[in-house]
Amino acid sequence: MSEKGANFYAKLVQKQGQKTALTFTTAPQISWTLHRLYPFLLIFDGFLNNLMWCCDDVCLPFIYLALMKMAVNLGSVSEKETSLLKTVVDTWLGLLSLVFLVLSVTYYISSVLRELKQDEPPTLDDIVVMMENVAYKIERMREDVAEVFKLQRGQIPSLLIVLTPIYWFMARYVISPKDYVTFLLISIATFHSSWCQCTLRLIWRSLFARQLWHMICRWQVRPHPSTDICYNIVHPALEINVPEDLASLPEPQLAVKLRAFIRTEQQIEKAPQPDRPPGYLPITVMIIEYQINENQRKWPLDGWTHNLLSYERTKFTTNNEEGQDWVASTSPWEFQETIERDWFWLDDSWIPHEWIYCDTDWDIKGAKDSLNCYTRSKSWTRSSFRVLRQS
């Protein structure tokens, strides 16, 4: 098979799981401390397993959840409408569940301790592996939470403003405290399960859900496409020597002639300035460069198109100096018509640059399209100048 020039496949990096033995390289005090820590680690790992629903038996977290839900009934204030029998049964079941929960926690802990005693003592590697496991799980949980609260500092107040009335309304009129606690309990207990995370991820695939999320949590006032295009000042004041007869021309004609001089001036800029030849007059110009970014998104079926999500960058954007990373703008060709009268184009046309490929959040990934690139943007630049001083 291999002789016929069949494809040669590289192998993935695999953790081989082998490490240098830690026993002799670790200080006895640390080993001792770790050894004392081991039961706690095991118990904590068991707790995390239940919270993340990744234990061997996924029915157990469900049973605990059901027990907790029943125990919540215990805290409910008995309302006048409910019958006495129902209250008694609820209370009895709730008490039973609570006791059972407490008992099972104690039983678990004691069984861990007992089994540890019966078993041969753990090696240092076992302890380290368990620590890594625990750390890994905590990291996963942190990521889960971070995914949801990937908010910027400015967005938290707006979130509060939007959510507080809704929250107040819900708590006041829609759900009772018992239901609220139940809901909170169930959501906390199931949030870190892989299937809940998968559900969230699958929901996140829907455009509608994203729009809703942005509407609630990240709403920002976006100005309408503006004609204030961001520009870089290339030369605040560039002195150019022009023939005297040229310098006396009115501004529009002068500008047309001036273009060639500015270009040559820019080219020889780096070279030492020659003295002004006779019969030439200096004219100071200010050169700026406009930059408009064209944005595209990759769609699985259509490839790169200008079809962008409603809350992200528009087809043409320009950089913004005030905090915001982008401002919607008009297209370059539309913009070039609206330039002010005392500004003159230096370049003949807009100069396109290479595409820059980004991930779905517009974080730059590189100059080439890759599997993790879902958006790209390309800047169009064009310089213009203005005659500042005519001596």
Partner: protein, 537 residues
């Protein structure tokens, strides 16, 4: 995945080539007066079916008026073609199957060569023939009767417009369906096993979960619709998603799990068996060095083994079905058919009582609570530990005594005293004339009148009968009324008229030229007609 499709595809092609080969055989058999085996005939007929089905498909497409039946047929047809290759190609991994087809490329041209030279091709194919195919071929030959209809006859029936609607019976389709089903049945048998495990408390947490779900359904029947949907979403779809995008929730598999759960320790009823294979746990693939060809072969072997295991399970479950149907039969024709009248009457009365009671009581009972408590108590009662303890509490003697009391009540509380059905039976006492007109000798007691028109008389043989009255038996299922005796019917003219006999009367005798007879009657009784029987018994 690729391995399955690969093997599947090849198997299909094998079947196809076998069928083609057999069809060829059929054609040659037509021209020569050669005996054709059943198997060949079947395959020939099957291929003609396929052709007919294809024609029908085209016709229905042309007419554009598609009935549901046609639509289903189309679906079946198209489904068969769909399952071949295209479906399993993954949009995200184009390169994978492109390279696969590249590697398989050189194999493909060899097939046409084989078909070009039929002898060689046949040899090649028989060498390749899967043992499953051989097995199925054997099965087909075993199922078939010896005198299978001729092909001409069959095609005539195929063309009958009325018969076109339904899919025809074909052993190949049947066997093929069986084969396909058997490979897919694994999930069903696994489900069956998991249900048994749940009921036997061998997966205690699963049983409790099930009970909690049942309780939820009891208190809010809406869950009956919600839970299946939840299952589809989270039992099938999310695992599919987590398979493609693993969430990697654990870094390492721990060497040993410490600690026990109180729930499980309390309720464990047997050997633990894990229920859900979880995709969360990332397993390291240590077999990366293996040749993909080897993996495919191993996969193939595993498939075949699974097939055999599934076939065995299918056979067992069919045996279960058979015994179940036998039990049902016993109930329908025995207990419910009043075969044992005491038992059936008692059962009916108990059922009627329960029905009335539940009807009357139902508005006053909280059924959610009752069914939930019932479910929990039943499941707890059948827990192995509890069951043995319960058995200890409820002594065998008590059970025996209860059964005895039940029997007594069946025996003495059920009064079976309906008046039996009363009918009369008749026999004819036939005398033969001797040499002298007044000389009669007793011939027989017979059911036949033995008049001149009688077929026995015409054939000149004595009628069927017995010598003495004691030998006369009542009709089957009937019994003589012990208080009645044989009586001579003195009104001979009546029964003669009734039979349309115009003969001479002599006292109670009806006399013709050489025989005379009189009619004897007796009362017979019958308590009940025999119990129903299934038609095939």
């Amino acid at each position: 995945m690729e391995g399955i499709t690969g093997s599947h595809g090849r198997r299909n092609s094998i079947i196809g080539s076998i069928m083609a080969r057999k069809y060829e055989n059929k054609a040659s058999a037509k021209s020569e007066p050669k005996t054709v085996t059943n198997r060949d005939l079947i395959h020939g007929v099957a291929s003609s079916f396929l052709e007919a089905a294809y024609q029908r498909l085209r016709a229905s497409k042309a007419s554009d008026a598609v009935t549901i039946d046609d639509d289903y047929d189309q679906f079946v047809q198209s489904n068969a073609s769909d399952s071949s290759d295209g479906f399993w190609k993954d949009e995200n991994f184009r390169q994978e199957y492109e390279t696969m087809s590249e590697t398989e490329g050189p194999q493909q041209p060899s097939e046409p060569i084989q078909t070009n030279s039929p002898n060689e091709g046949r040899r090649g194919n028989t060498a390749q023939e899967h043992f499953v195919d051989i097995l199925l071929n054997k099965m087909i030959s075993a199922i078939l009767p010896e005198n299978f209809p001729e092909r001409e006859h069959f095609t005539q029936r195929v063309n009958d417009p009325l018969r076109k609607k339904r899919q025809k019976l074909s052993a190949t389709i049947l066997a093929n369906n069986l084969k396909v089903l058997t490979t897919k049945l694994g999930a069903i048998f696994e489900f069956q096993d998991s249900v048994i495990r749940l009921i036997a408390w061998r997966n205690p947490s699963g049983t409790i979960t099930l009970l909690i779900l049942v309780t939820m359904i009891c208190f809010n029947p809406m869950f009956l619709a919600i839970i299946p949907m939840l299952y589809i979403l989270y039992g099938i779809m999310v695992p599919g998603y987590t398979h493609r995008h693993p969430p990697n929730r654990t870094a390492y598999l721990s060497r040993r799990t410490y600690g026990k759960s109180l729930v499980i320790s309390l309720t464990s009823g047997g050997k633990k068996a894990s229920w859900h294979p979880s995709d969360d746990i990332q397993e390291y693939d240590y077999n990366l060095d293996l040749d993909p060809h080897d993996i495919q072969r191993a996969h193939h072997i595993k498939q075949s083994m699974e097939f055999v295991v599934n076939l065995r399970d299918l056979q067992n479950s069919m045996s279960t079905m058979v015994s179940l149907s036998k039990g049902m039969e016993k109930f329908v024709f025995g207990t419910a058919g009043f075969k044992d009248e005491h038992r059936s009457t008692a059962l009916f009365l108990a059922g009627l009582g329960a029905l009335l009671l539940s009807w009357l009581v139902s508005p006053f009972v909280n059924w959610s609570l009752v069914s939930a408590v019932g479910a929990w108590s039943t499941m707890i009662a059948i827990h192995p530990e509890v069951r043995s303890r319960l058995a200890r509490i409820i002594k065998q003697e008590q059970v025996e005594r209860g059964r005895e009391a039940l029997k007594r009540s069946e025996r003495y509380d059920i009064v079976l005293d309906e008046a039996p059905e009363v009918r009369s039976i008749e026999v004819f006492e036939i005398y033969k004339q001797g040499l002298v007109p007044k000389d009669w000798t007793f011939l027989k007691f017979s059911t036949s009148v033995f008049d001149p028109q009688d077929s026995f008389r015409k054939a000149q043989i004595p009628p069927p009968g017995v010598e003495t009255l004691a030998q006369v038996q009542p009709p089957v299922t009937w019994a003589f009324d012990n208080n009645s005796d044989w009586e001579i019917d003195v009104r001979a003219n009546e029964w003669a008229r009734d039979r349309g006999l115009q003969l001479r009367l002599e006292d109670e005798f009806l006399v013709d030229d050489s025989f005379k007879r009189r009619r004897l009657t007796r009362t017979v009784l019958r308590y009940a007609t025999p119990a129903r029987k299934p038609s095939y018994k």
